[in-house]
C-alpha cells in the first residue's frame, strides 16, 4: 500500500503545486465548447426535447474526463524519458500493481477535478442536472479506463514524440465521434456498432441518461467495468515491457 501511496502522492504533490495553472487549463476547453457549441451554435437546437446545452454538458464531462485521465501519459513520459524518475520506481521494492494503481488513480483525480469544473460552469450557466452516485461511478470508470490506457501508451512508446501520434489518432477522433457533440443514433449503419462500443460513447450515453432523465442501464456500467479491468491489465503488462 505504501508503494501505491508513494506513486499517488508524487502525482498529487505535482498537481497541488500547479493547481492554479491546472485549474485554468482544465477550464479553457470546456468553456470554449460550451460557448461555441452550446450557446453559440446550439442556441436554437433541441435534441429529444432538451436544449443543446443540456445535451452537450454530459458529453463534455465524458470527453474531458477521458482527456484528463489519459493525459497522465504526458507526466509519465516526462518522468520516464526526461527526468528518469521512472527508474526510481523500478529500482524500489514496490510491485508493478502498486505503481500502476498509483498512476491510474492520479489520472482519475485529474478527471474528477475537470468534471467538477464543468459542473460548476454548468451551474453558473443555469443548467440543472440529476446528479447521483451512479453519475460519479460512471465518471470514475471512464477515467479509470483512459488513465490505464494512458499509462499503457506511456510504457509502450519509445520516445516522447510518439505520444502525440497516439493522442491524434485515437483520443481526438474518439472525442468527436463518441457521442460528445451529437447523437450517435444517426450515424451510418457500418460505423454505428463500432462507435457505440467505444467506452467514451457508453459513458456519454450513461451520463446523459442519468443527468437528463435520472435513469440508466446497469449493463452499461458492467461493460465499462469489464473494459476498465481489461485496460488495467494491459497497463500492468506494459509496465513489464518497459524494462530494459
Amino acid at each position: 500500500m505504501k508503494g501505491f501511496f508513494a506513486t499517488y502522492l508524487r502525482e498529487f504533490l505535482l498537481l497541488k503545486k500547479r493547481f492554479i495553472r491546472v485549474l485554468i487549463s482544465f477550464s479553457i476547453n470546456p468553456l470554449l465548447y460550451i460557448f461555441a457549441f452550446g450557446i453559440g451554435l446550439g442556441k436554437n437546437i433541441t435534441i429529444g426535447g432538451k436544449s443543446y446545452l443540456e445535451f452537450l454538458i454530459p458529453g463534455l464531462i465524458s470527453a474531458t474526463s477521458m482527456m484528463q485521465a489519459f493525459a497522465i501519459n504526458v507526466e509519465i513520459n516526462i518522468a520516464r524519458f526526461y527526468l528518469k524518475i521512472f527508474e526510481e520506481f523500478q529500482s524500489s521494492p514496490i510491485s508493478n500493481l502498486s505503481y500502476a494503481l498509483g498512476e491510474v488513480l492520479s489520472g482519475v483525480t485529474r478527471a474528477f477535478l475537470a468534471t467538477f469544473i464543468i459542473l460548476v460552469i454548468s451551474f453558473l450557466a443555469g443548467v440543472k442536472f440529476y446528479l447521483n452516485f451512479y453519475f460519479f461511478l460512471t465518471v470514475f470508470l471512464n477515467a479509470f479506463v483512459f488513465a490505464s490506457l494512458g499509462l499503457a501508451s506511456a510504457m509502450l512508446i519509445k520516445s516522447h514524440a510518439d505520444q502525440a501520434l497516439v493522442t491524434n489518432f485515437i483520443i481526438t477522433p474518439m472525442m468527436f465521434l463518441g457521442g460528445t457533440f451529437f447523437p450517435t443514433e444517426n450515424l451510418p449503419f457500418f460505423i454505428k456498432p463500432v462507435i457505440e462500443a467505444l467506452p467514451l460513447t457508453i459513458t456519454s450515453h450513461t451520463l446523459r441518461s442519468i443527468a437528463l432523465y435520472n435513469s440508466f442501464k446497469y449493463s452499461s456500467l458492467f461493460i465499462l467495468l469489464v473494459i476498465a479491468i481489461i485496460s488495467f491489465m494491459i497497463a500492468l503488462y506494459s509496465i513489464k515491457g518497459a524494462k530494459n
Binding site: G3, F5, T7, L14, I85, E87, S91, K243
Partner: protein, 283 residues
C-alpha cells in the same frame, strides 16, 4: 574474515548486435568500497543497472548476501540503494518531498521517514535547504540530495554510478569525504567512475573494465606497485613517453638523460598510469 556482500558470476548482456557485458565476474566484501574503472561504454553502467534490477541480464548470476538476487528481487531491492549518473530527482518538489516519496517507496513508516530525513539532512549539511525545490539547488547540492535519498532506507549495498561526473574539483572532494563517511558507517559500496584519482582515493579494490570484460582486479596500491614508485614523463615531438622506476635514483638518471633536449618531469606513479598501461594492452 569478511562476508561476501555481492557476488557476480559470468554476467552477459547484449543490446541487439552489441555485447555490453561478456561474462564479467567479481565479488565485493562486506563494508568494502569496490570500484569499476573503465572508459565510456565499457559496461560499468550496464553492470550497475543489472544489479539494481533495472535491466535483465541475458545470462549470469548475482548473489546479494548469499541470496540469489533475481529469486529474491523485492528483498534485494530493499537492500540496495542506487545513485544514478543522471540526477533523477523531481525538480518541482522540495528536498524533503523527494526524500519522503523515496521513504514511502521503501515502505518505511512515517515516523522513521521523519527521523531519517532529519539525520540525513544533517549528514549532508542540507538542513537549511529542506524546503528548497530541487531546481533551485546547485549541481553539487543536487548530487548530495541524490546520495542521501539512496541512503534513506539504510541500504546494505550502495551503488554509485559516476557520482561526481560534471562537478568542480572542490565539490568533488566534498562528495568524496561524504562517501568515505558512508563507508565508515558500515555500508558496502560499488562505485563506477572514469576519474582515476576518484578510484585511487576512495576504493579499497579496483576492477579495470574494457569493452564488457574485467581485465584485472587489485588494490590501487598494488596496481601502482606493479609499475614502480616513480614515473618520468618525456615530451617527445610526436608523443609522451613515460618510464617507471622502483628507485628514485634510477628515475633521476632517466630525467638527466633527456633533460637537455626535451621537456621532462619526475613524479609519483598513480593509478592512472596503471590504467593507461591496461588501455594500451587492450586497444
Amino acid at each position: 574474515m569478511s562476508k561476501i556482500a555481492l557476488k557476480v558470476e559470468n554476467l552477459v548482456k547484449k543490446y541487439s548486435s552489441v555485447v555490453a557485458l561478456k561474462g564479467i565476474s567479481f565479488e565485493i566484501k562486506e563494508k568494502e568500497l569496490f570500484a569499476l574503472l573503465g572508459p565510456n561504454g565499457a559496461g560499468k553502467t550496464t553492470t550497475i543497472r543489472i544489479i539494481a534490477g533495472l535491466t535483465n541480464p541475458d545470462s549470469g548470476k548475482i548473489y546479494l548476501f548469499e541470496k540469489n538476487l533475481y529469486n529474491n528481487l523485492i528483498w534485494s531491492k530493499s537492500q540496495i540503494g542506487i545513485v544514478p549518473q543522471h540526477i533523477n530527482l523531481d525538480m518541482e518538489l522540495t528536498v524533503e518531498e523527494n526524500l519522503l516519496i523515496h521513504g514511502l517507496l521503501y515502505k518505511l513508516s512515517l515516523s522513521l521517514i521523519k527521523k531519517r530525513i532529519s539525520e540525513l539532512l544533517e549528514l549532508a549539511d542540507l538542513k537549511e535547504r529542506k524546503n528548497s525545490k530541487i531546481k533551485e539547488l546547485s549541481g553539487g547540492l543536487k548530487r548530495r540530495v541524490l546520495i542521501i535519498r539512496a541512503l534513506m532506507h539504510k541500504p546494505k549495498l550502495l551503488l554509485l554510478d559516476e557520482p561526481t561526473v560534471g562537478l568542480d574539483p572542490y565539490i568533488r572532494r566534498k562528495i568524496w569525504s561524504f562517501i568515505k563517511n558512508i563507508q565508515a558507517n558500515g555500508t558496502t559500496i560499488l562505485l563506477t567512475t572514469h576519474y582515476m584519482e576518484e578510484a585511487e582515493y576512495l576504493a579499497d579494490r579496483v576492477a579495470f573494465i574494457f569493452s564488457g570484460e574485467i581485465k584485472a582486479i587489485n588494490t590501487p596500491k598494488d596496481f601502482i606497485k606493479q609499475l614502480g614508485n616513480y614515473a618520468v614523463d618525456v615530451y617527445l615531438s610526436d608523443k609522451l613517453k613515460t618510464s617507471y622506476f622502483k628507485e628514485k635514483k634510477e628515475a633521476e638518471k632517466e630525467l638527466l638523460k633527456y633533460s637537455k633536449n626535451h621537456f621532462v618531469s619526475l613524479r609519483r606513479v598513480t593509478l592512472e598510469d596503471a590504467f593507461l598501461k591496461y588501455v594500451e594492452k587492450n586497444l
